[in-house]
């Protein structure tokens, strides 16, 4: 019982520490979204604020201008990878 509670609260803590931080998510169709992490749920559906969409391209992101989306939700099953800026992680006490 105690173990479960702590696993749960640890998970919540990790996630809460990422709230309002910049996040970069690659989607199944190759597009990448960069925005502020605002919300998520058990299925890993993620809401990003001030999101910008970058088309599939090389690493340099030189492929034209990003498209401004505003508030966007990426369904969990379309998330390929999630990245955060290294600075954001320094603020957490437990670290990921």
């Amino acid at each position: 019982m105690l173990v479960e509670a702590s696993a749960y609260s640890l998970a919540r803590c990790k996630l809460e520490n990422l709230l309002n931080k910049s996040m970069r998510i690659r989607m199944t169709d190759g597009r990448t979204l960069v925005g502020l992490f605002l919300c998520t749920d058990r299925d890993c559906n993620v809401i990003l604020g001030s999101a910008q969409e970058f088309l599939k391209s090389t690493d340099s992101f030189s492929q034209g201008e990003p498209r401004v989306l505003g508030l966007a939700m990426i369904p969990g099953h379309h998330v390929v990878s999630i990245e955060v800026e290294s600075d954001s992680l320094q603020m957490t006490t437990h670290g990921l």
Binding site: A7, A11, M27, T40, R42, V80
Partner: protein, 724 residues
Amino acid sequence: MVMKSSVEEEEGGWGLGIPEKMRNNANWVDVTKEFKGACKELKLGELLHDKLFGLFEAMSAIEMMDPKMDAGMIGNQVNRKVLNFEQAVKDEAIRVKDLSISELIGIMDTCFCCLITWLEGHSLAQTVFTCLYVHNPDLIQDPALKAFALGILKICDIAREKVNKAAVFEEEDFQAMTYGFKMANNVTDLRVTGMLKDVEDELQRKVKSTRSRQGEQRDPEVELDHQQCLALFSRVKFTRLLLSALISFTKKETSAVSEAQKLMTQAADLLPAIHSTVQYGIQSQNDTTKGDHPIMMGFEPLVNQRLLPPTFPRYAKIIKREEMVNYFSKLIERIKTVCEVISVTNLHSILDFFCEFSEQSPCVLSRSLLQTTFLIDNKKVFGTHLMQDMIKDALRYFVSPPVLSSKCSLNNNHQAKDYIDSFVTHCTRPFCSLIQIHGHNRARQRDKLGHILEEFATLQDEAEKVDAALHGLLMKLEPQRQHLACLGTWILYHNLRIMIQYLLSGFELELYSMHEYYYIYWYLSEFLYAWLMSTLSRADSSQMAEERILEEQLKVRSSKKSKKKKKARPLSKEITMSQAYQNMCAGMYKTMIALDMDRKVRKPQFELDSEQVRYEHRFAPFNSVVTPPPVHYIQFKEMSDLKKYNPPPRSADLYMAASKHFQQAKLILENVTSPDAEVNRILKVAKPNIVVMKLLAGGHKKETKALPEFDFSAHKYFPIVKII
């Protein structure tokens, strides 16, 4: 219907203000596994979010990878590479020279279709600018295509400018956004028409040289060449004429408007040739991607996808080439009608012109051209008359107020002049607004008419005060003359017109339920038209009083007896039409009450509201009007109570009364000397209704459960009642 494209409005604080550190070269650390793992610990249905972010905000997020919401998805769904113009030229996917005539015809026709689709309310990005050639005409080497591309850009630019200036559009009518596209601003209008003319002349030479000669055997290849050259020539010339006409509308002189009318007629003459040669143009090639329409050479429907605002994806269905000529033909007719407004001089006639023009639900471009032609640069009417002068003329025409009569002593009185000038100046804005309101689409018009009643109520107030002041002055100067309620009558006339239009347009827009018809028609016939009739007759008397005084003054000067010519009174047609309308409305309201008595009107259950609530909602805009005072529900019920008659009428009596009203309307209208389309439309309704009412009075089909039908196809305000 449409979400605002502005990002701020959806998200409050979560919108713009992208922090600087969100650059792509930041140090990104992959946390996928940990994140997903952490998520799994959350409970089912639990959301992890900041205190200030909740379901209300989350609701407006765009869902990615859902084709209904994610406009960026479609680029990945197609099999072809989406190239812009420069890329396509480099890749040699598109040619800028050595295009065949077939290709040119096909490209031009598709461009015309895109232009029309844009004028019908879609975005430039999804219509005209799906044509790669217009992105950068400087790169085009083919002279015909280059001139054409520039021509299309200029047409779009002028059209957009006109529509913006007129300001009679809403988001459903037109999308003014240009997405930063260059609209050939580096080339003058004159240069573009010159380039088009050069291409035209060259093509005309070719047409002449390939023409069939007498006695000669016709070579099919030469014949084809001839037809194709003719097809191309017609299109280039049409473009030049359309552009030139629009350029004329940008000029300030009204003579330019007549010029535009001539150009439009010439353009219309080319349409049959264009229509018969549509098949010479190349068609789109089929694309194997799902749900995508065939791609035309030189066009890329997705080239601007990333410029579109982050709303749900909107698809612009480009009209088919077969419909193109039909659309142009109607557009030209509308523009030619617009040109006729400059020959209308009286303000009331101008108002009528605007009303009639609006009734055919014209396109946003023609409505805008009408607005900007009327008030050139929003200053003078047709660029020559001051609105104040037009209002004074309208007053003279309608009610002949002594203060505006040259034969009245008030005319030279300083104070009187101040009063009337100030009043007329206060009238200009509401009347300009009224004319602008008539430029909107029918639905928006109704709404705005309701709102402008407030301004007219203020004018009414002022009119009464000025009338009283002028009357006081006049009594001192010319005791026999009166200035009673002249200005007030005129404003009241316009008030009533607006109120009547507001109610009648509810039928056109199909806003009323059947069970509401009776009180709407009652308000019109027993109240508004009754007031209108008395207002018109008061105006008429005022005119006659002025005329008598003028005659008196003439008699004093000359001993000759002026011949009394039987001239039609200026307001007689209007009085006649109002009588007819009043009878039609009276017939309808009695019909509805009778049908209700016979249980033939379906009523709602009124669980949470009542008839009073709906009544008051329908007439709410009238609450700001002082004269006539609004009729509240209780008052209406009292006034329309049938029990005050002894014995109270039964349905048969009411049907007969209705029949008599329709009969009266028919008689009045049949006596009109030169009946116009409107007279005939009303007759088409009055005649069958006379018969139907008589049948119903006789008890025809009284026991049937089937409800009557109301057919508004002959007249949008008055239905033919059909008993099934």
